[in-house]
């Protein structure tokens, strides 16, 4: 028996035991679950699971706030959010595969009839700047105008010491490194908003149109999700790309100030985003377009983000849980926004958003 074991099992078994022993030797330190401020006083709902999918732009906010909702307000409700992209979220909601969709862009009119559950509501939840993040050794401060951004991202400018960039940055020494443009390889609401801004603010220089995917030049590189783009920029000298504020901050990327329509160079901050949101007009279905907003402090590439739900819910349990979730997001969630690198809604818009939630009909 021992010979048998020795010949056939000893070597691989030893390998396995070594691996597992090394692993089990040290016990991991368990981090206690994050406890938020005092729990909600509303009645506890029975066990339910809410499913959502969509925008990865709002994912850093969603991930934390939804967990806090479960920990603080409704311990029996589990919320699963799949940050597969705004388009996927809309498709899932169309087919009623999810309870809510996260989206940075509005549903195009042609798709409205695809929503099998009938009429839907937009509920804005937070906003954030879309940063122009870059990685250029030796350059810590950068300003760009809309026209220059358009030219960089359509690869009309290929080197960092180009005259247009130098004109935007008097006094800054720019190296002659090649520019590597990083964009989203997956379809994205962030791409949609960024390209919409370029179409509005730099129409003469931006020729690639707007949409969740555009036809980037083949010399650019793509990465999946905001986090992927951030990672790519961080690891490539000379890279530039568009990344949401949360991911850019967490990856500690350098960000450029952008000249808004008033001519002021505004850095991508939450204050700049709030200023843009406050200056923008709110439509009848509670959507805003703060792109290229006027106002001296407004950061011109600000993206609102929405949760889309059906006005008429089909299940009492899911519907009640959903309303509780949305109320939490628009209450306690707003005070958490800044810590998560998102701008809370300005008061007027917040009131209108809450009114939207009240419109949801639960059987």
């Amino acid at each position: 028996m021992t010979t048998f074991l020795r010949r056939n099992a000893l070597v691989p078994l030893a390998a396995v035991i070594l691996v597992l022993a090394a692993a089990c030797g040290s016990s991991g330190s368990g981090k206690p679950a994050a406890t938020g401020p005092g729990g909600s006083t509303s009645a506890k709902l029975p066990a339910t699971t809410l499913k959502g999918s969509g925008s990865s732009f709002q994912d850093p906010f969603d991930e934390e706030v939804f967990r806090d909702f479960t920990t603080d307000a409704q311990p029996n409700v589990t919320v699963n959010y799949n940050p597969a992209g705004s388009g996927q979220g809309q498709t899932d909601l169309e087919g009623q595969l999810v309870d809510f969709a996260g989206s940075d862009s509005l549903v195009v009119p042609g798709d409205v009839t695809k929503f099998k559950g009938g009429a839907f509501l937009y509920i804005p939840i937070v906003s954030a700047p879309i940063t122009i993040s870059y990685n250029l050794s030796g350059v810590t401060k950068l300003t760009l105008s809309a026209a220059t951004i358009a030219k960089i991202f359509s690869t009309k400018i290929t080197k960092w010491d180009a005259s247009e960039i130098a004109a935007d940055n008097p006094g800054v020494t720019l190296p002659s490194t090649s520019i590597t443009v990083v964009h989203r390889s997956d379809g994205s609401g962030t791409t949609n908003n960024f390209t919409t801004y370029l179409t509005q603010a730099a129409a003469s220089d931006w020729t690639l149109g707007s949409g969740k995917t555009v036809n980037w030049a083949s010399s650019t590189i793509g990465a999946a999700k905001n986090a992927g783009v951030a990672g790519k920029i961080k690891s490539t000298d000379g890279a530039i790309g568009y990344v949401d504020f949360a991911d850019a901050t967490l990856a500690q990327l350098s960000v450029a100030s952008v000249k808004n329509s008033a001519g002021t160079a505004v850095p991508p901050t939450l204050a700049g985003a709030t200023a843009a949101m406050a200056a923008a007009t709110v439509t009848a279905d509670v959507t805003v377009s703060p792109m290229n907003a006027s106002g001296p402090d407004a950061y011109p590439i600000t993206s609102p983000t929405y949760i889309i739900v059906y006005a008429k819910q089909t299940s009492h349990a899911q519907g009640t849980a959903l309303k509780a979730l949305l109320e939490y997001v628009l209450d306690a969630g707003q005070s958490k926004a800044e810590a998560l690198n998102f701008a809370a809604l300005p008061p007027a818009l917040l009131a209108k958003a809450k009114a939207q939630v009240d419109k949801i009909v639960v059987p």
């Binding site: 010949r7 070597v11 691989p12 390998a15 597969a84 992209g85 388009g87 996927q88 498709t91 090649s178 590597t180 390889s185 997956d186 379809g187 994205s188 149109g209 949409g211 969740k212 995917t213 555009v214 036809n215 083949s218 010399s219 650019t220 590189i221 793509g222 990465a223 999946a224 790519k232 690891s235 490539t236 000379g238 890279a239």
Partner: protein, 329 residues
């Protein structure tokens, strides 16, 4: 089949001593049918795969026609889907993988069959089996977080060393130069396909008639000359078969490639550039895709399926021929 004893008429008699009634004809036929169905399940499933995926991909195929395979224009807003860049990327990664895996695998197979003494042989086979058991995603994780950051320095050195050598300066370059690139993906995939090529090559080497090897040595050949003279000529077809099987695996490898190839839709020969293969682009773009876009991605899957079937048929045929020939030697 069973020879009926004369005493058996309509009632099955228990000949075996365990006291149970033996299963009658019904059970026997039933079992046989069940087994036959199970055997055919392979063909049924293969057929279903072909049908279901082609059906979903049909809108893309019918819209693009042959341009699906010959055009590099993968333009989502304009809804044009030409997959040539990804086909090229798949071939490039597979080529790199084979360049590294084939010599190493053949050498390893020779080491196991010709040089290693019994005890060492068992160790080596263990190592190769463990290499084969590691999941693709773990190769990808290690490659992405350990290999890619470290190897970029190596790429930069190579790129500057060969900057003035024609042809090589395009090959050994990147636009942009990146740790996640065709080369990194190719190297790791090469590591992953080594076990399968080694094991099939080993099977083939074992079929070499000992008489021929003995004859070579008796005539005074060195070990290497014996290998060249007796082992290789006999195994040529089998080695080609093994290499083809490795190629099939390399082309189908998905997860490690997704993590290691960066992401770029450019068709390029620059090995240190990021790129995409058919498999990686399916994973990268599937989540967002709808309708025609999704059909196009499934179409890539259909192409991958067809290619691996064809390569598999040729490869297994070659290996079978060598083994059949050995049987008659």
């Amino acid at each position: 089949m069973v020879a009926e004893s004369p005493s058996q008429d309509s009632a099955p008699v228990a000949h075996l001593t365990d006291g149970h009634r033996p299963p009658g004809r019904v059970v026997d036929v039933g079992f046989r049918l069940l087994a036959m169905l199970a055997g055919f399940s392979v063909l049924i499933i293969l057929g279903l795969i072909a049908f279901s995926t082609t059906h979903t991909a049909w809108p893309a195929f019918s819209k693009e026609g042959i341009h699906f395979f010959t055009s590099t224009t993968w333009d989502v807003p304009k809804q044009r889907f030409g997959a040539l860049a990804f086909i090229g990327g798949t071939l490039l990664v597979s080529a790199i993988a084979l360049v590294f895996a084939v010599p190493v695998s053949i050498g390893l197979a020779l080491f196991i069959t010709e040089i290693a003494p019994g005890k060492l042989r068992r160790w080596i086979v263990t190592v190769v089996d463990l290499l084969a058991a590691v999941p693709s995603v773990v190769y990808g994780l290690w490659g992405l977080l350990v290999v890619a950051p470290k190897i970029i320095g190596f790429y930069k050195d190579l790129a500057s060393d060969f900057a003035h050598v024609p042809i090589l300066n395009t090959l050994l370059s990147g636009r942009p130069l990146s740790g996640v690139s065709f080369m990194t993906a190719g190297l790791v995939v090469g590591l992953m396909i080594t076990p399968i090529i080694t094991s099939i090559t080993r099977e083939v080497f074992v079929t070499v008639p000992t008489a021929q090897k003995e004859a070579a040595v008796a005539l005074g050949a060195t070990r290497w000359e014996m290998i060249r003279g007796a082992v290789f000529p006999h195994s040529r077809g089998g080695i080609v078969g093994a290499v083809l099987i490795g190629l099939g695996r390399a082309m189908g490898e998905t997860i490690a490639v997704v993590l290691l190839i960066g992401s770029s839709t450019e068709l390029t020969g620059r090995l240190f550039s990021p790129g995409e293969t058919m498999a990686s682009v399916i994973v990268n773009q599937f989540g967002e895709a709808q309708d025609l876009y999704r059909a196009a991605l499934v179409g890539l899957g259909v192409a991958l399926f067809a290619i691996t079937i064809i390569i598999g048929v040729i490869a297994r045929g070659l290996v079978a021929r060598v083994e059949a020939r050995a049987g008659g030697a």
